[in-house]
Symmetry: C2
Subunit: 145 residues, 2 copies
DNA sequence: CGCTTAAAGAGACTGTGTCTCGATAAGTAT
DNA sequence: ATACTTATCGAGACACAGTCTCTTTAAGCG
């Protein structure tokens, strides 16, 4: 990611490096606040504005993608797959393959006059281990869809 | 929607009615702020808190779905879909159909031990009108991906 | 080593969403 | 109809995300 920034003409600074480390070390989906907190471990004076600026720069180079989530914006590395299994139990995110199928709905989008640049698929549910726990708790009043 | 609320045990008030009218009259994707503005036309004293409360109630009854967008949360009547064409030019979001294909990768996810509860598909690109504008600007120094 | 300028940090500002609290009115019983 | 109970109201405080501006700093060049 660092070389990517550099090649795009951005300077490599302490703050930027701190953000990059935070992104590499952190979870697959991170919020700006998390990046700030993680980044401060490397660069103590890291500011919120710098985090947003760097995130924006990374997005511009295509190394990162911002996507809306129920709790504000989260950032995802694009080197990671763009098909995610998001566990609603533990919050864990794993990738899965399925790009062959992706090309199937590109024509649908293009029929609407839309030119497709990319896509993101989020599948929500419960991962294996959370599912096993769920069995223990039986149906303990979960009213959500 | 009104009967739906009533049946669920909610009282029908002036404020609630104002919100319902706003939802029915407004665009397919509306923000809470838009609902507030539209609702004030019917009920001048409508407050932000009431909007959120009503929106929450409607979500609980299943008449509405909240979904994250780049500019905060937006609300969609559940009759509308969960496959989005997100325009990177103007930020507009439109739905498209494609649920038949969705069932194709559910087995892939389940092979990983994942139980699927729902999904969200975001296709990024440029909408028709933004595409036409793009042609006018030709390659006018846009370094963005 | 010094210059130029992109990028930094600090903090003000805006907007969204949540929460509390006393006041109000919806629905029910009288 | 009228009174009562209590869900709901509006107002405003609060917390937080994200943006913006301004002055200072340091990255990368010669």
């Amino acid at each position: 990611m660092e070389t990517r920034l550099k090649d795009a003409g951005y300077r490599i600074t302490q703050s930027r490096r701190a953000v990059l480390r935070a992104l590499e070390g952190g979870p697959a989906h991170v919020s700006a606040a998390q990046v700030l907190a993680l980044g401060r471990k490397t660069c103590k004076t890291l500011s919120r504005a710098s985090v947003y600026r760097t995130l924006e720069a990374l997005e511009a180079t295509g190394a990162l993608r911002a996507l809306p989530s129920p709790d504000g914006r989260v950032y995802v590395r694009v080197t990671d797959g763009h098909h995610h299994l998001v566990c609603q139990g533990c919050g864990d995110v794993q990738d899965f393959d399925g790009c062959a199928l992706c090309n199937a709905w590109a024509p649908v989008a293009e029929a609407e006059g839309f030119s497709v640049a990319g896509h993101l698929l989020e599948v929500f549910g419960l991962c294996k281990s959370c599912r096993e726990e769920e069995v223990v708790h039986v149906s303990e009043g979960s009213e959500r869809s």
